[in-house]
């Protein structure tokens, strides 16, 4: 009897790939699918039990970038509802004011992200990618300043290029590039509860006919902490949650942050919308909120491409939050860059740096640069406090009439004197917002 069971031969077929993708989220799955479809030997590794189990988002995906990657999306993706109703609300102690838009065409949908990601993973696997779940990658293996593979526990597997899709907690990248941990100022924290409600009730309570609603709320719903709240209608549930700028949230919350979400769920003006619903899930996630601070100085190195949250490709301009589609498209661009590099047999940092330029020149780069002025809003917390109150206080004066109605000017002036901000600040802010938007 032998005393040692030997490790199976790590034969060239199982320890050498064209590309290794770390992380089976939207970015990683898109990269894997694109590469596998071109016939490359791809290994995608994820530490979750199955692809998607480590993914979390608010609740809406913009479809066009995804359709460019996955042509069959409209046919077989697990879409819950196509969003045709958009609502923006200012909530304060004084009241609640909403603006709502309803259009015919829809270019975004709600879904459970784990479902969508698992669908993307299945597409990648069908195309020939090898997907290994339940495995945590411990480090990127670097030799002569080139990434040559990944190490997971006792095992090392090699590839021409590693695509790092590890997400917002980019421990591998920090290890390989000696990067600093991200600053609080560049991050937000997202909290979410999914509440089960049958489809008919979702339709009734939100005035829908099987289409979806995306709803952003600002003001007291975050206890005036800079950030916002969201509500998305799924097929037979609603996702409700908060996104709070981390640096403010850390300073201004006492006790557990989930309390804030509970307060939102139990908000007197909102709770009837999900009354009798059953709480299915609570989740939380760090969000790479401010890309200028979070994005690594370069998105590639020799043998390495960085995609998705790890690359900081996420946009939040207050009304539009885009993460999944940008991440997926960055994965797609990484795959395209790899294809070119492979054709040249060149995986040096110069060659792969084309990826960063592709990102910059694509809609991702254009979108991110366009909304850069939002930094002003972010740095001025009174946007999340005084303006929601101003709107509600003003409208309160206009609609709650005693004997005589005030002029609109008087109502607004009264409200401004009541809840601020001072006139000069308001003018400055209006000017800044005008320029930004």
């Amino acid at each position: 009897m032998s005393t040692e069971h030997s490790t199976p031969n790590a034969s060239p077929s199982t320890n050498r790939f064209d590309a290794i993708v770390v992380g089976a989220g939207p970015a990683g799955s898109s990269a894997s699918f694109t590469l596998a479809r071109k016939g490359f030997k791809v290994l995608m590794i994820d530490r979750g039990r199955r692809a998607g189990t480590k993914n979390m988002y608010g609740g809406r995906v913009y479809s066009e970038p995804l359709e460019a990657i996955f042509p069959s999306l409209r046919k077989d993706a697990p879409v819950h509802r196509w969003v045709k109703a958009e609502r923006l609300s200012f909530v304060s102690d004084e009241g609640l004011t909403s603006i709502e838009y309803r259009g015919g065409e829809s270019k975004s949908f709600t879904t459970y992200l784990p479902e969508l990601v698992n669908w993307m993973r299945a597409k990648a696997e069908e195309a020939g990618a090898l997907v290994a779940t339940e495995v945590r990658v411990d480090r990127l293996v670097v030799e002569k300043e080139k990434v040559i593979g990944v190490q997971a526990g006792p095992d090392t597997v090699y590839a021409d290029t590693v695509i790092d899709a590890e997400g917002v907690n980019r421990l591998l990248l920090e290890g390989a590039w000696q990067m600093n941990v991200p600053r609080q100022e560049d991050l937000a924290i997202g909290l979410k509860e999914t509440i089960k409600l049958d489809a008919e009730r979702v339709n009734q309570r939100f005035g829908l006919e099987d289409e979806g609603m995306a709803w952003i709320l600002l003001g007291s719903v975050t206890r005036y902490i800079p950030g916002g709240a969201f509500v998305y209608t799924n097929r037979d549930s609603v996702s409700i949650g908060l996104v709070l700028f981390l640096s403010h949230a850390v300073k201004r919350t006492n006790g557990h942050i989930s309390r804030l979400l509970e307060d939102f769920r139990l908000h007197p003006k909102l709770k009837h919308l999900w009354r009798d619903g059953e709480l299915l899930e609570y989740s939380a996630k760090l969000v790479p909120e401010y890309w200028r601070g979070f994005m690594p100085r370069r998105l590639s190195g020799a043998g390495l491409l960085v995609v998705g949250d790890a690359a900081g490709v996420l946009l939040n301009n207050g009304m539009t939050i885009r993460g999944v589609d940008l991440a997926a498209y960055s994965g797609y661009l990484a795959a395209e860059t790899f294809t070119k590099a492979h054709a040249e047999g060149d995986f040096t940092s110069e060659m792969l740096s084309a990826y960063g330029r592709r990102v910059e020149e694509s809609f991702i780069g254009r979108e991110l640069r366009k909304h850069n002025g939002l930094e002003y809003i972010r740095r001025n917390p009174h946007f999340f406090d005084q303006y929601p109150r101003l709107v509600n206080s003003g409208l309160g004066r206009i609609f709650n009439i005693g004997l005589e109605s005030p002029t609109i000017w008087k109502a607004l002036r009264g409200a401004q004197k009541d809840v601020g901000p001072d006139a000069w600040t308001a003018i400055k802010d209006m000017y800044k917002i005008g320029r930004t938007l």
Partner: protein, 275 residues
Amino acid sequence: MQILVGIKWVPNTSNVRFDPKTGALIREGVPSIVNPHDLDAVEFALDLRDRYGGEVNALSMAPPSAIEGLEQVLGMGVDSAILVSDRIYGGADTLATSYVLAHAVKRISNQRGKLDLVIFGQETIDSSTAHIAAQTASWLDLPYLYYVRSVEIKENGFIAVERWLEDEKTIYDLPLPAVLGVAMKSREPRPVRLIYKIRAKAEKPIEIVTNEILKLNPNCVGLKGSPTWVSKIDYTPEVKRKREVFMDPDAGKAAKWLMQKYADEDINLIGGAHR
């Protein structure tokens, strides 16, 4: 050693809820997992293989979705897996299940020419009967021990099996082949390894066995072959806690007060049922 280890694909009961009206299990949205106690058995088997060489194969009777679970144990280092899967096996109680499993074990034993140990977890988290190992052993007419903690191979073709009961530890000599039930939580299952997971995906070492292959009598399997069924599920009545606080700096007084409370509630501490 040729070792076969049984795997059950179960709903993750830590997430399972019951319909308060019908008492039925709500399966919707509840992900399945490998029965955690079976992972102890896998670890037990792999440890034996590490020490004595040989092969570990996994055996499961389940719908095709269990492939995911088998890939997990293959990822831990199990050499290959057999999934016994057929619609007519559905709805089986432990008798019908063990009947199918026993025939699958026989088939594997014949194929490999040798089978030393069939190892099961102590019980499953979704039904907790602990029947399967015993029943399989009885169909196969093999010696069986449960609550097993460790095994050593002896010179004469016997194994020394250590079993712990609540207040005793016994060592048995068993002839091979034998069936063992591994004490739950007696092992720390090893993590999934990348190269094993790659091998599981690339070489697909999972054989699917249907009743066309096993050719068992349809009346002996599945719902038809099951003399027992769950007629009703009742909630355990909620016990109201009678929270009381006794404050006194004198520990002796406090102890006396506590003992009196136990006596009032008719709780016998000397018997030591709860240790």
